[in-house]
């Protein structure tokens, strides 16, 4: 907890350094941190691998962009509507997909999100097709938007933290560990999974809405399945069983990618090798390594 407050406090200072790129990149990291944490409610805590979170992300981003640029909604209302749409999407997808497990669940969510991608590509009058929607107002200069995003992300993460550490979260962990036993503990699996889906989808929507405001543009890339793969990889690098794992690895993911792309156009190769290394040698994820390290320190100290 101390570590978290330290990070949050020090990140309050980033805008004051005056480096605009650092400001932009760290805003983006915050948004992706929320995306990963929200995704991990479903994956790390309920054991459900969604391959369609881009649906909730882009659902909210597109709703915001469409309402604000085409129907002249006030920005705040657009923001809220975007999140509400994500919540509705997550309930709908949840109802239709939660009967499925493992790879089938992944495939069903993939199918729905790609269906949405198809709609985005085809409903050009509204979504702008491949070109997407540009000129979404941000309402704030980047400097203040950074603080706004930071506040939203920290509050959302805190809510998610409280959620997964609540009794509800415990039951979700139970579902991940042993579905049958949860059933025979008198709980409806579907109901709790739906809760998890709702929380996960809604906060993914929050991050999507922030994303639309940061780049002021939405394009179909964020509804494509490759964008759904981002939190999966990030979560795995960080370690899904730790609340902060996805957050830490998002930081690493974005910064490492940023550095690699700076030095070589063959960045995919290096990135691929890094991913292999994580899967083969650091399966507990980054946080797993940190925990082991702390453990060994404490044992050594005794």
């Amino acid at each position: 907890m101390m570590l978290v407050s330290l990070v949050v406090l020090s990140s309050l200072l980033i805008p004051l350094t005056g480096n605009k790129y650092a400001l932009y990149l760290s805003t983006k990291i915050w948004i992706l941190v929320l995306y990963a944490i929200a995704f991990n409610v479903l994956f790390g805590y309920s054991g459900l691998l969604s391959f369609g979170h881009a649906l909730f992300f882009s659902g909210s981003a597109y709703t915001l962009a469409i309402l604000v640029t085409r129907l002249n909604f006030p920005l705040a209302l657009g923001f809220v509507c975007g999140i509400v749409i994500s919540a509705l999407f997550s309930i709908a997808v949840g109802v239709l997909s939660l009967r499925h497990r493992e790879i089938h669940f992944a495939m069903v969510t993939l199918a729905f999100s790609m269906l949405f991608w198809g709609i985005v590509m085809k409903w050009r009058d509204v979504t702008g097709g491949e070109d997407g929607i540009t000129g979404v107002p941000r309402g704030l200069p980047l400097f203040w938007f950074y603080y706004f995003s930071l506040a939203v992300v920290v509050l959302s993460s805190y809510f998610i933290y409280r959620f997964v550490k609540s009794d509800l979260g415990l039951i979700l962990e139970g579902i991940r560990e042993n579905e049958t036993r949860v059933q025979f503990s008198g709980h409806s699996i579907l109901k709790y999974r739906l809760y998890a889906m709702l929380v996960s989808g809604t906060f993914t929507g929050v991050s999507g809405a922030l994303w639309a405001l940061l780049d002021r543009t939405v394009t179909p890339t964020i509804s494509h399945w490759t964008f759904s793969a981002v939190p999966v990889i990030v979560t795995l690098i960080g370690g899904p069983q730790n609340f902060l794992g996805p957050a830490v690895s998002t930081l690493i993911y974005v910064i490492v990618q940023d550095i690699i792309t700076k030095y070589t156009l063959y960045w995919q190769f290096i990135f691929g090798v890094a991913i292999l290394a994580v899967v083969l040698f650091f399966r507990g994820g980054v946080m797993g390594i940190v925990e082991n390290y702390i453990d060994s320190l404490m044992k050594g100290g005794r």
């Binding site: 605009k20 700076k262 960045w267």
Partner: protein
């Protein structure tokens, strides 16, 4: 300046006429504000004064990975060549030029991030490049925020210049490449001269395909009220088997095909269309009523070689044999010597972008964005692709690129173009909001009377 149809031997004469035409502002109903003609790559003695900056940094963003990684490669050949030439001859006012290449991965968000990284972290003074329309629209939005100039060398969406630059006033964006006018409007001018009356489309299933086809239909039905549009096929990007699309099109018995397929999909499509007899179906005595605006891209020519049937109407955003000027010949030779390939259209635009930046700095002795914008507006630049007028209103470089028919010439490693046809550029760069012009039919008569 009268519109005319071009043969290769008329190049010199025509180009001279074009240059003069642009200078005196001879366009119909369109006045040019006394532009200066700038010979961009002319050698200048190194100016003995304080350097503006140790190195002038240019960020070049293009697609370098995935199925369309070629497009970054082709652009890089142009901009790197320009950089090497400039540095070899003393740089820009004594400053070296450095180009930083970054991969957009064809994603808007990634490109936006790279723009910021290049400007705010690497200290780049200019951004050039950008391939696809979705990406360019996203990038354009951030240019005022990072307060640097963007020279678009590939992406073609007309929405960029019409909506973002003209209507919304994003003045930091300039485009050196032809927009989809070339693919839709100009294609319709060519189509109007062909006997075919039933046209069909095979397009990639995304924005560029829709926009080109819409412009084509709109323009062609004005030019030739007798034509019909009988079928359309939308193939997803990365289609391996085009036969269902080809046969569904052939079912409607078209006499002409308009296709803006490009890259890998174009190779596949042409190869399969040939074997399914789609070319035979649209044959007329002068060739094939087959219009492929980006058909003369270098990757297509190098991959397809003799497989692209002779007599198809193709174009690009620049074709290396046009115009036949000393400058263009020099560029093509330098490109061939350096890379062993003919320059691609995006190679030319990237090359020109770097030289334009050089000239701009030499003219203004400054790196001030507003000064640059003022200088660029209504400037005429003389580049390998011929004279380009940068239209003040929408920052679109107006120049003309001909269509020609594919010809297999044993003297060249790739097919060449013959029977080149060009319409004076300023006459077809006219889509709302730039419509103040005589009716299409008038214009069409002029084109025809010269044909």
């Amino acid at each position: 300046m009268p519109p005319e149809e071009m043969g290769r031997r008329d190049f010199l004469k025509y180009t001279a006429a074009l240059g003069v035409g642009l200078v005196i502002g001879g366009g119909i109903g369109y006045t040019l504000r006394k532009p200066e003609v700038q010979v961009v790559p002319e050698k200048k003695p190194v100016v003995e004064e304080e350097k503006l900056k140790e190195t002038i940094k240019i960020g070049h963003i293009a697609i370098f990975s995935g199925p369309f990684g070629t497009y970054g490669e082709l652009q890089k050949r142009g901009s790197q060549l320009a950089m090497e030439e400039i540095n070899a001859s003393g740089g820009i006012l004594g400053s070296k030029v450095e180009i930083v290449y970054r991969d957009s991965a064809a994603k808007s968000a990634e490109a936006v991030k790279q723009v910021r990284s290049l400007v705010e972290n690497e200290g780049c003074d200019f951004i050039i490049g950008i391939d696809s329309s979705g990406v360019v629209l996203g990038v354009a939005e951030v240019m005022p925020e990072v307060n640097k100039l963007l020279f678009v060398t590939h992406a073609a969406t007309h929405r960029l210049t019409e909506e973002l630059v003209y209507k919304k006033g994003i003045k930091e964006v300039f485009r050196l490449a032809v927009p989809v006018y070339q693919d839709g409007i100009m294609a319709a001018f060519i189509a109007a001269q062909l006997p075919a009356t039933k046209w069909a489309a095979v397009h990639p299933d995304y924005e560029y395909g829709y926009a080109s086809w819409e412009l084509f239909q709109k323009t062609l039905s004005k030019l030739r009220p007798d034509v019909e549009f009988v079928a359309e096929a939308w193939a997803k990007i990365g289609t391996t088997d085009f036969s269902p699309y080809i046969s569904s099109i052939m079912e409607k018995k078209p006499e002409g095909i308009h296709t803006v397929e490009w890259g890998v999909d174009l190779f596949t499509f042409v190869r399969q269309a040939k074997q399914m007899g789609l070319f035979d179906a649209v044959k007329y005595e002068g060739g094939y009523a087959w219009i492929n605006p980006m058909g003369y891209s270098i990757d297509a020519m190098e991959a397809l070689k003799n497989e692209y049937p002779e007599g198809c109407w193709v174009s690009g955003r620049y074709v290396w044999m046009y115009p036949d000027t000393a400058l263009n010949r020099k560029f093509v030779k330098a490109h061939l010597d350096r890379w062993g390939h003919y320059p691609a259209y995006s190679g030319e635009t990237s090359y020109t972008a770097v030289y334009l930046i050089k000239r701009l700095i030499e003219l203004t002795h400054s790196l001030d964005v507003d000064t640059h914008i003022k200088t660029l507006e209504n400037m005429v630049i003389y580049s390998p692709a011929g004279a380009r007028l940068i239209r003040k209103e929408d920052h679109q470089a107006i120049y003309e690129v001909p269509y020609g028919q594919i010809k297999h010439d044993p003297n060249y490693p790739i097919p060449v173009l013959e029977n080149l046809k060009a319409v004076p550029a300023q006459e077809y760069y006219r889509h709302p909001p730039f419509e103040e012009m005589p009716p299409f039919t008038e214009l069409y008569k002029k084109v025809m009377s010269k044909a």
